[in-house]
Subunit: 233 residues, 2 copies
Amino acid sequence: MGQQSKPAAESGTRESERRRTILRAAIDVFARKGYHGCRIADVAKEAGVAYGLVYHYFKNKDELLETVFDTGWSGFVTRVRAVVEGEGPLAEKVRGIVEVAFEAYRVDPRAVKVLILEIARSPAGSRINRQTAFVDAIRLSSALFNAAQERGELRPGLDPHLASALLFGNIEMALTAFVVGLADARDPDALERAKSQIADSFLYGVLTGAQAAETSEWKPEKSATKSKAPKRS
Amino acid sequence: MGQQSKPAAESGTRESERRRTILRAAIDVFARKGYHGCRIADVAKEAGVAYGLVYHYFKNKDELLETVFDTGWSGFVTRVRAVVEGEGPLAEKVRGIVEVAFEAYRVDPRAVKVLILEIARSPAGSRINRQTAFVDAIRLSSALFNAAQERGELRPGLDPHLASALLFGNIEMALTAFVVGLADARDPDALERAKSQIADSFLYGVLTGAQAAETSEWKPEKSATKSKAPKRS
DNA sequence: CCGCTGGTTGACTGGCGAATCACCCGCCGG
DNA sequence: CCGGCGGGTGATTCGCCAGTCAACCAGCGG
């Protein structure tokens, strides 16, 4: 997160128009052809600027991607933080997080596409895993689950960290479905339905009320294995 | 999915020792440095063979990756299919699927790493999205959820396709946590715990029994939106 | 003993694309 | 009017790496 190596970066909004143009172009091109599948020339052409200018604003191709990630994620993480730190029961907050993610997708599907598809695919050696950004969000909300567990809202014995990961796993996979065209993103209802279904099934499970109640004691005896330790938390 | 372009391929096991050595090496190297981050020379060195030999067995780098995917996924999909087509209640099958995924990880973490991390996106234009393989598994198990819904085991109104996607989203994210070292994979208990927690929280949700029962009627009034259409199924 | 066949080798090349650099141009301050 | 400065240009350079190929070396059948 955000070591601005740019010297005269200063205030956030102060960055030149051009720089932002290039950034947008980069997002578009990455979304279309993937990071490795495009050359800087493509970005430049898309932005309508000269090849060299890209290097005026960004140290190299890598930093360009880095920046795309940082800006994209920081917005997302900020919003997630707001939800997490707000008031309300766990269920409400979970819905809030899902909402944030889907809203981001509604506003700028392409950016989300890049963020999701290009995760973890950092040019091998270079920099920290972009995964980090995602991990931030997960860690953030795992605090939420931790607190909820202490308040007794979350099933005891469930690792808050894992729960958090699962939530984002749900979100990511659902968005991926839209991103790759498995689900129809032009149907606004589909988005809405997916949203509530994600939150609901995460909170209450996928089984019918009857079935779930049956085992609701949370001791699914068939559940195998040596789960005894309550886990450090 | 298996168009064997190799001419004298014949029976599956009949492939030369060397070919398999190279494949294994490729998996190792891909896992370590990623597809784009490694050169063919690395694979050859890892396999202990000459550079050129790789090209004797594989048309090009792309086909190498392709093959890694196909072999990896086909095994996985086959096992998932077995579970799906077996007998038993939904809950049992879900546990079965989770089991399959984690077993694959236990047996060969590196292969799983490649399969997960390198999903989707190889040189943009080339071939069909590897996503396909994953999608296969999802589609397969969505039949399962469909049937379950008709038997009344699955919450009505939940899109079976989405449910399936969510399950794999859970699995993938959990495995990713291990793959990237977020969770400690050397602790065998951690694997076990994660396994049962995934299945359980997917089936019964994350809320405590009390809370869940409260809303168990499956009409979370706050759940917003215009969900009326039962959806085609 | 010869020559053929098919797996095996690794130096070599061709192209591609990231990054550089010499140069432009409009503006401002002196 | 001059000089210098910072945004802006794009042809050129340069290293890298996928993919080729000529030569090599069993083994084997004649």
